[in-house]
Subunit: 279 residues, 2 copies
DNA sequence: CCAATTAAGTAGTTTTATTACATTTTTGAC
DNA sequence: GTCAAAAATGTAATAAAACTACTTAATTGG
């Protein structure tokens, strides 16, 4: 299992100090790399030996080795800079680069998938009285896609890409409801507000966003998707693809959880389209 | 430039000791990672400060930082995926299958990409007075995604996911306009009608759909995406992902075609979001 | 060949990481 | 609840590693 995934997945069974460390590393993985053990220990609020023991527990030989592993991990999950696109590329080159970057982004998303959170999210969606999806900008289309998939189930699903409607909907949530907030960066203030409102109402708030971001912190459950494409100009939004695939996983797992009784319903959904088709 | 490549490329213009170091690092990159500076210096036959200076010359902050960079480099070049799904939980198996299917779908889309059609589509979008995007159901979110990307350019873009509005918009197209119709199956009657209406108006009609389908036949230009997910019940819509990536390629190629003057506009688009962000 | 310049080394200093041991906290039996 | 055992965490000293200032050697261009 990848280091970051291991951190997330084993967090529950670890001690208090170790959880603090995990939280910090997940939130600022890059920062850890150029931080000496003393400063990290101080920042997290634990002692140096605790950090060292933690590194060993994670399978490293010590703190420096832990940093090396983390560096490898991060490098791998970040599509390499050589993949940026330059002017003068023919369409086929552009295509090759974009497909490659997308493959890499998918691998990264797969390796970093937090199954614990995923299972919990499936539970939440399964038990929800109603599901509300919120996204803005590019994430609005992700939300819409998710809605389309979730419509096949028997839980009412609504999607909002209008911040006023989002607020109204979020303010009206009940405890049995489930709110899904989508954002690449996790830094869009409006969505962070929505997540907070959802939690204030007692609803289960799921974030499909960058780990460690403001939105991630505001959500009860986080399905992590590294952002990262906000920097380059021409680079496509590969993490959006990762989000969509995670939604696929989420919905498919949910379908399985709903059980075979639901196969009929899915068949009916499909059948409903027959009249719209030509040959 | 990547670190290893830089090592190789600059070897000629470096001093004797540095060349010895480069040779050693290129020969045993992995070994360097768990070697302290003293041992490395001894192994290469130079002094410790020489190693340190060398690391700085390579752009690192010092020896430890050099190792971190090297670790990232190596991680990236190592066969990336170790498809290790351990736990017997449902979610990880579902995830593995879906990611695999998505990879396959991407490969297929890449291999079947018609660059001629792609270039023509880019030309059409480049020259268009206005762009209209139409999609229904799951394709509506694809259309919305495309719109979000195209909004950065200076051509007016509208998206319709309502069949009445689609018809009104399609009926009002002019010769200089471009209509993009999106559908997995290419068999949705409503969208086929829209494409025909668009052609009747003299607009350039681009179809992002299954090759050979009714919609494909109705369009002037076809960007082919194999459907195929209509059969299985639980299988996710992987071809939607392929469509999105093709849109990435289309838009990126268009951006390059628009030229460097457009970099400013893209930057402005990005900058416009600054006010919406939190830390 | 000899200043000027650059490269490399030595030795000492500082920073960083680790170890051994002490203290606190948690756990589980009664 | 109380107490002992075990686990977790912290303190302080030690060891390891990296870096700096300075010296010596090598290289280069006149």
């Amino acid at each position: 299992m990848s280091l970051m995934a291991e951190l997330r997945n084993t967090e529950a069974r670890r001690s208090k100090s170790e959880r603090k460390l995990i939280d910090y590393v997940l939130a600022n993985p890059e920062a850890v790399l150029n931080t000496p053990i003393a400063r990290l220990a101080a920042a997290v609020g634990v002692s140096e030996p605790t950090v060292n023991r933690f590194c060993r527990a994670m399978g490293a030989q010590g703190f420096p080795d832990f940093k090396l592993r983390l560096a490898g991990e991060l490098a791998r999950s970040r599509p390499s800079m050589t993949r940026d696109i330059e002017v003068g590329d023919a369409a086929s080159h552009v295509a090759a680069k974009i497909f490659e970057a997308t493959h890499a982004s998918l691998d990264s998303a797969h390796n970093n998938l937090d199954y614990k959170a995923l299972e919990k999210a499936v539970d939440a969606l399964h038990d929800a009285r109603a599901i509300v999806l919120c996204g803005l900008g590019a994430s609005a289309s992700v939300a819409q896609d998710a809605q389309h998939k979730l419509l096949r189930f028997d839980t009412p699903v609504t999607t909002h890409s209008d911040i006023i409607n989002q607020r109204v909907a979020a303010a009206g949530l009940a405890e049995q409801d489930c709110l899904v907030c989508i954002s690449y960066t996790g830094r869009t203030r409006a969505i962070v507000d929505i997540a907070r409102m959802g939690r204030d109402c007692g609803a289960t708030v799921i974030g499909l966003t960058a780990p460690g971001s403001a939105l991630a912190r505001a959500c009860e459950l986080v399905l992590a998707v590294e952002g990262g494409e906000d920097t380059e100009l021409y680079t496509p939004m590969t993490s959006r693809i990762a989000q969509l695939v995670i939604i696929d996983v989420l919905v498919t797992t949910l379908a399985l959880r709903k059980g075979s009784a639901f196969a009929d319903r899915l068949r009916a959904a499909k059948h409903s389209l027959a009249g719209t088709r030509v040959r």
